[in-house]
């Protein structure tokens, strides 16, 4: 049997052959019986008559079977035609009815587009950030390894541990450490600051990508005796070096850490396009320095590490092995793997992708979940709206029904219409999603992983189309289920709706309740994030932000001693102070909002040592620091030029420190010293108390801080920051600042200073991002739900028009009628609100990591959401009900 025959056979079976033979029999029976009757009336016996009639056919059976065959063929073709004609008609009617009610259709399309757009956009994000493998060969074999604390996620790592693993781990094919830093290069005339990564030798092997020009780093590059070398990213090679194909071997002047003795570095390679990391330049991490090997490095988390798994090993194997190595290390160096500070310390390995998306995985799923809820609510509401609309169309449908359209035919027409609108909705939704993805990229906080790869792709479009078809089917079918069972076509006679099935009523109730509950849930989440963001804006960073500029400055490596280092900074600041427009300038490595990494142990003179580890930050700051930053001096004095080395060592503490350690007296005159385990650290006398500032972020809990004069410190840093109180905008000041700094050292890069307000704004990006996105989803959800409730209520109220008429005719007051009609919906809304609030209260701690300024059970937020949504939902119920009471009783009854 050929395929064609098979198909024909299949199709023929679906079109009832029995039906065809029945029809043939009916037709022939009429013929035979009529003829027999005629002959009998002419006087023949029935037997004779029948024989004569059959004879007229020749062979009756042959005739019959050929007729049946022909009829079956005919039925098949006509039913195909009828089906296609029907579909064409459905489409035409659908288009016409959409165009006839542009408001309704527009709203439907908009609601669907919102749901589909949000869902597709977030699906794109999920797909490209969480699901797509990293853009490296066999990237599933890449793992991140780092220190774990109490079994948590592996973080950064120390160099002795890296060395231990690098030498001993059998599960790792290649293993590299890297550290983000900055490098200054003189490309053309001016020195510029570039983000760089200092990497160990196996780095490019781990990722499986190598330079396409020149070579990777070799052993000599890591040798302190050789000339410093760098590898460029494709982007920087194009932008800064004009994509010069002969770039390899070129030497560039530098002033940064990697200049060391020679003032230049040699380019040895260029990485291919698409190899991205936060760094644009790679430099060899020279492992020969003492800091690399010293035991104290066990407590300095300086590097990230990444590895490629050896064949036959999985992440679990690597994790088990590094844990074993950690246990061995802990036995050798118990002081670094236990005790007060290092309790629960171990080593862990996770897939590199997990590390890359760490901190955003849950928030991406959270937003995707919210978008899916929005789509679900959109579909639920549309069902309600279609139901209400079907009412308006009772007449039209009844007329069509009377003209012979079957129940299925009318149902199909409604579904076609729903699918048509949802297809239009999905086209618009896809456009919205494309815009949404762009908006997402703009809104996303700076640290958002793999943001460049986020785009609307084919799978998303397919996803949107599936969503559209499903939602179309649902929107079309649900009204049929929720409407009257007996007559889905909503009959001419509205009185029959009084017999509306209990099942449909219950389903409608569930729909309203579930919508309200889900919307409440979403709104509470968004409300918490919005409230959190709102409160954060009121958090004061502790400094006068206006006209406060911060400029990073690299300290050339030739300034090796503390005197040279301090001398260079004093010289630069003196020149900056002379720039017109600069009110005053000073320096510190870490001003407020720029982090604080010096967290020493502190012992106070004459007081028992606190057994609790004190979470505290200390900062070396230049003269007049507090005046420049606008940090209020609450007691005593600030730090001045007088507080230089040789003079009495002093310290200034902030109000939190003072409250904590000197709750009953002034700290002035007390003494403190840092890192007492060093033994001989000197005492500092507290001379002042200043206001508290935010160390890294407005979202953090403020903690005690100590300031000491930079002029009295002997520690040197590769980078510091000049803080400037300026009367001019940063851009106007920049050229003059460049001149001033270059007079001190022409090789130091001078970036445009950053206004501290920009830093605060960047800090707000993360909470703002979550608040805006979730806020958008939940407000859309609220609007969508209210439309749905309104639609359903209109349906219910119209169904009770007769009852309302009778009640009114019997003298019931408007309020009473209103109450009677809306009471069931009030109950549903109340139940929905309660369920939503309960669910939100049960799960809002999931938002915990995103909330800083409020608790997950913030009562005002819950109250505001419940009140706001409750009132608007009641309003959406009352309006259709109120309209019903306005109908003249006589008019209502005339319907009967």
């Amino acid at each position: 049997m050929s395929d064609g025959q098979r198909w024909r056979r299949l199709l023929r079976i679906t079109f009832n052959k029995g039906h065809a033979s029945e029809q043939v029999d009916d037709e022939l029976r009429f013929h035979i019986e009529s003829l027999v009757e005629r002959l009998v009336s002419q006087g023949k016996s029935e037997e004779d008559a029948r024989r004569e009639v059959m004879a007229r056919f020749g062979s009756y059976m042959k005739t019959r079977s050929s007729l049946v065959r022909a009829a079956a063929r005919h039925t098949l073709t006509t039913s195909r035609h009828r089906y296609l004609d029907g579909a064409r008609q459905d489409l035409r009617l659908s288009l016409r009815s959409c165009l006839k009610h542009p408001g309704f259709s527009g709203l439907v399309v908009l609601i669907l587009a919102l749901g589909i757009g949000a869902c597709s956009a977030l699906f794109s994000v999920v797909d490209s950030v969480l699901l797509n493998p990293l853009p490296f060969p066999e990237s599933k074999r890449l793992v991140h390894i780092g220190t774990t604390r109490h079994g948590g996620t592996p973080g950064d790592f120390t160099t002795p541990e890296f060395r231990e693993l690098h030498a001993n781990a059998k599960t790792l094919e290649s293993y590299a450490a890297y550290r983000y830093t900055e490098i200054s290069l003189r490309v053309g005339q001016e020195p510029g600051l570039y983000s760089a990564a200092a990497i160990t030798k196996d780095y490019f092997d781990v990722f499986g990508i190598h330079p396409f020009l020149g070579r990777a780093f070799v052993e000599e590059d890591f040798d302190n005796t050789g000339a410093p070398t760098v590898i460029l990213s494709f982007g920087i090679w194009q932008q800064q070096f004009g994509a010069d194909p002969d770039i390899v071997g070129t030497a560039i002047a530098t002033a940064g850490r990697y200049a060391e003795d020679t003032p230049s570095v040699t380019i040895v390679g260029v990485m291919p396009r698409g190899f991205t990391s936060p760094a644009n330049i790679w430099v060899p991490e020279r492992m020969t320095g003492t800091w690399w090997e010293e035991e104290y490095m066990f407590t300095n988390w300086t590097h990230w590490t990444a590895a490629r798994l050896a064949d036959d090993y999985e992440v679990e194997d690597a994790n088990a092995e590094v844990e074993t190595i950690a246990a061995t290390l802990a036995a050798t160096y118990p002081q670094y793997y236990g005790g007060r500070y290092y309790e629960g310390r171990s080593i862990g390995a996770v897939p590199l992708l997990d590390h890359v998306v760490l901190g955003y995985r849950s928030s991406i799923w959270l937003l995707f979940g919210a978008a899916c809820l929005l789509l679900f609510l959109a579909i639920a509401s549309l069902s309600g709206m279609y139901l209400a609309r079907a009412l308006d169309r009772r007449q039209e449908i009844a007329v069509r029904s009377a003209l012979g359209a079957g129940r299925g035919r009318i149902g199909r027409q409604l579904v076609t219409e729903a699918i048509l609108t949802s297809l239009i909705g999905s086209v618009l939704g896809t456009l919205l999603a494309a815009g949404g993805v762009q908006a997402f990229r703009l809104l996303a906080p700076a640290g958002f992983p793999r943001l460049d790869s986020v785009s609307l792709d084919l799978s998303t479009v397919v996803f949107a189309c599936i969503l559209a078809l499903l939602s179309g089917l649902l929107c079309g079918v649900v009204p049929l289920v929720l409407g009257d069972r007996t007559t889905p076509a909503f009959p001419l006679h509205s009185g029959t709706r009084a017999s509306d099935g209990a099942r449909a009523t219950r389903l409608r109730g569930i729909l309203i309740g579930a919508q309200v509950a889900l919307t409440t849930y979403l709104l509470v989440g968004a409300g918490l994030l919005a409230n959190n963001f709102w409160r954060l804006q009121d958090v004061h960073p502790g400094v006068q932000t206006e006209g406060l500029l911060v400029m990073p400055i690299q300290i050339p490596d030739r300034h090796e001693t503390a005197e040279e280092y301090t001398g260079f900074l004093v010289d630069v600041v003196r020149r900056v102070n002379a720039v017109p427009g600069v009110v005053s300038a000073s320096w510190t490595p870490d001003p407020p909002m720029y982090g604080g990494w010096w967290h020493p142990e502190v012992v106070l003179g004459g007081m028992a040592r606190d057994d609790e580890p004190v979470n505290l930050r200390a900062h070396p700051v230049g003269p007049d620091f507090f005046q420049i930053m606008g940090i209020p001096i609450l007691d005593g004095r600030g730090i001045s030029e007088e507080d230089a080395s040789g003079n009495r060592l002093i310290a200034v503490v902030d109000e939190i420190f003072a409250r904590r350690f000197f709750p009953s007296r002034s700290p002035l005159g007390a003494r403190l010293r840092f890192d007492p385990e060093d033994g001989a650290s000197p005492w500092h006398t507290i001379v002042g108390v200043v206001g508290s500032t935010r160390i890294r972020s407005l979202a953090e809990e403020p903690m005690p801080q100590v300031y000491v004069p930079a002029l009295q410190r002997t520690q040197t840093y590769a980078q510091s920051r000049i803080v400037i109180r300026s009367a001019l905008p940063a851009t106007n000041l920049a050229p003059m600042l460049q001149d001033a700094v270059w007079q001190a050292d022409p090789n130091v890069p001078v970036p445009i200073p950053e206004n501290i307000e920009e830093r605060i704004s960047a800090d707000m990006r993360d909470p703002r991002f979550h608040a805006v996105l979730l806020g958008f989803f939940s407000l859309s959800a609220a609007a969508v739900t209210l439309s749905g409730i309104y639609g359903l209520m209109s349906y219910v109220v119209t169904g009770r028009t007769r009852e309302i008429g009778i009640r009114s005719a019997l003298g019931a007051g408007a309020i009473h009628v209103l109450w009677t009609v809306s009471r069931p919906s009030f109950v549903l809304i109340f139940v929905g609100l309660a369920a939503g609030i309960a669910a939100a209260a049960g799960t809002s701690r999931l938002l915990g990591a995103l909330l800083f300024a409020i608790t997950p059970l913030d009562v005002p937020t819950f109250g505001f959401v419940a009140g706001g949504l409750g009132l608007t939902a009641l309003f959406a119920c009352l309006v259709p009900a109120w309209r019903a009471t306005r109908i003249e009783p006589t008019e209502t009854l005339r319907w009967e």
């Binding site: 009916d26 009429f30 013929h31 056919f57 020749g58 022909a70 005919h74």
Partner: protein, 116 residues
């Protein structure tokens, strides 16, 4: 269509059915047989099986449409009626018949005016 009788008119059964239906209006199979018999003054009798096969073929060709109705004797009967394409086909077949008979008549030396 295979010839089942010697009648020269039999080959034009389709034309006869279409013509009959155009004058009688919607009609069932037996009615058509009666009408043909009456129209030919009893000289032509169509075989019943052949008539129904022709009717079904004309229906699936789209020249006829069928409908179930209740006959005068209260029986369910299948009524056939001309469709718009059926009417066109009737006109075309009539012209072809005329041309055909004219030609044959000329050859046989019969005056064709009478057959008009």
């Amino acid at each position: 269509m295979p010839r089942k009788t010697a009648s020269a008119m039999y080959g034009n059964l389709d034309l006869i059915i279409l013509h009959t239906l155009s004058t009688s209006g919607p009609c069932h199979g037996l009615g058509i047989i009666d009408a043909i018999e009456a129209g030919s003054d009893g000289s032509m009798r169509v075989e019943d099986g052949a008539l129904y096969r022709a009717l079904h073929r004309l229906e699936s060709d789209g020249f006829l449409k069928a409908e179930w109705r209740i006959s005068d004797k209260n029986r369910k009967a299948k009524f056939y009626a001309l469709t718009a394409t059926g009417k066109t086909e009737l006109k075309r077949a009539q012209q072809e018949w005329t041309r055909h008979t004219e030609t044959v008549s000329k050859i046989l030396g019969i005056g064709w005016e009478t057959s008009r």
